[in-house]
Amino acid sequence: MSALGTVGQDVAAPPPPRRRGRKVVPYVLLLPGLLWLVLFFIVPMIFLFSQSLQQGSLDQGYTMTWHWQTYVDAFQLYWPQFLRSFIYALIATALALLIGYPVAYTIAFKSGRWKNFLLVLVIAPFFTSFLLRTLSWQTILSSNGRVYSFFVKTHLLNLLQAGPYPLVTGNQLLNTPLAVITGLTYNFMPFMVLPLFASLDRIDIRLLEAGADLYGRPWTAFRKVTWPLSLPGVVAGTLLTFIPAAGDYINSKLLGNPNTTMIGQVIDGQFLRVTDYPTAAALSFTLMAAILVLVSIYVWRAGTEELV
């Protein structure tokens, strides 16, 4: 009737032997990498912060004086560049989202056999030096080129020069805010497209079919079904685009003019040419803090998911 058992039924069952030494392993594996990150990421940040509060010069040395005034001075001088950096980054991110979404959508749903090939095309820009690619824009937008003459003929050039914050100045396409934004958007397209694609690709296509079935117009179906489901990808893509774009200065230097200076250029100049380390450090730290705040708000509003 009940299970057959003949061994030691009156004696309490012994606990099995323990195995030792397992708990240590993850820490040992993590240690080298974590040490490197702490030493060369966290510690420098601390140095950066402390440098921003010091006074002195590169030759005579610095002393820690808790000189908060540096921050005030730096911000008073360079707030236009800060603002400009964030605005340019915002525009570039918005543009990247606008034109990147159709690309991601096409690859996810309308590419069939060509899916892998198209994905390779998306990351193909990375196959060659990004400085060289950005320099190519000088060729594309040059005043002797076809793009320029197209803009002239269609009077788009005049249109872009209008207004209080013109996108184009000096009757040329190169060395203008437009060129800088074009370059920024271009440089970070893959960072926008790939997360968007990953998110769209995961959507069960039957949900989209159900949406098309329920909502008469394709735009409504998109707004109510596709867009919400792709939001994780949108969040990831916009973060991965905005953050580096805000700190970028390559595009501004190569494709812009002195009026398009971004904060990255200022920091670079302060560190490497002017060697005003406290000011430079203050600017750098402020940039990071500002981005951290913006990102935190954004992620908190949009909802956190697995970051790593």
Partner: protein
Amino acid sequence: MATVTETRPAAPARPAPRPPRKGPLRWVREHIVQIVAFFVFVYMLLPNLLVVVFSFNQPKGKYNYEWEHFSLNAWLHPCAPPGMCSAVKLSLEIGILATILATVLGTLMAFALARYRFAGRAATNLLIFMPMATPEVVMGSSLLTLFVAMSNIISLGATTIFIAHVMFCVSFVVVTVKARIAGLDPRLEQAAMDLYATERQTFMRITLPLVAPGIAAGALLAFSLSFDDFIITNFNSSATSQTFPLFVWGAAQKGTPPQMNVVGTAMFLVSFIIVGIAQLIAWRRRKAKA
């Protein structure tokens, strides 16, 4: 009057109804997404194409922005510009060394994160995520302040570049390898132990071979990040240690020789070949399954 029997004339044969003609505007509306995507692709790939094309250019002056005429000169004398080939060499050296170290550190961390439970997981994840989310200007400049403060121990140059590169590559390796490990069925390792393989044998014969593609992908990613890095390298280099991106930056001010485009095109070709091989392997594996 003769009665004429009127027979109804047979209805003329009507052709089978055809589907409504789609005007060209209708086609555009239905395919608007693909059309936009096409133009965006052009936008994304045009500069690449120009880099390749302009490597065959023979510029008039110092700068290579206008097409003059076709020439193989740059390809035949790739190391003509002073300092360029040594810059490429330095980029390769740092790239390879940084890749090796970043891959090792990153793979170890990926295994720890993917396979073990431990206290401080969230903090570790955050620490790994942060370098990916911090602007390069901030990372580069903070490292500069560190190295300057430690200038009696270490001076700016190839070493500091190497240290910086390892730092920002590790996170990417961790993410890549961790994804691969997470996709590995743990029952395969259990099956191996069930079949008399010790922990070490299981790792060497089952785990590692199956994770290897992820490690390779992480290493490739690290190398391309390192080779192409400008901003962080710019902050942590010296006049004597020029990497290829630094050279290009300087050239943009002083004069852009087409040989730079040769290097760029070579990078492009090598990458394409590697990706092509990977795709070929995957394609052949899919064919064999059928």
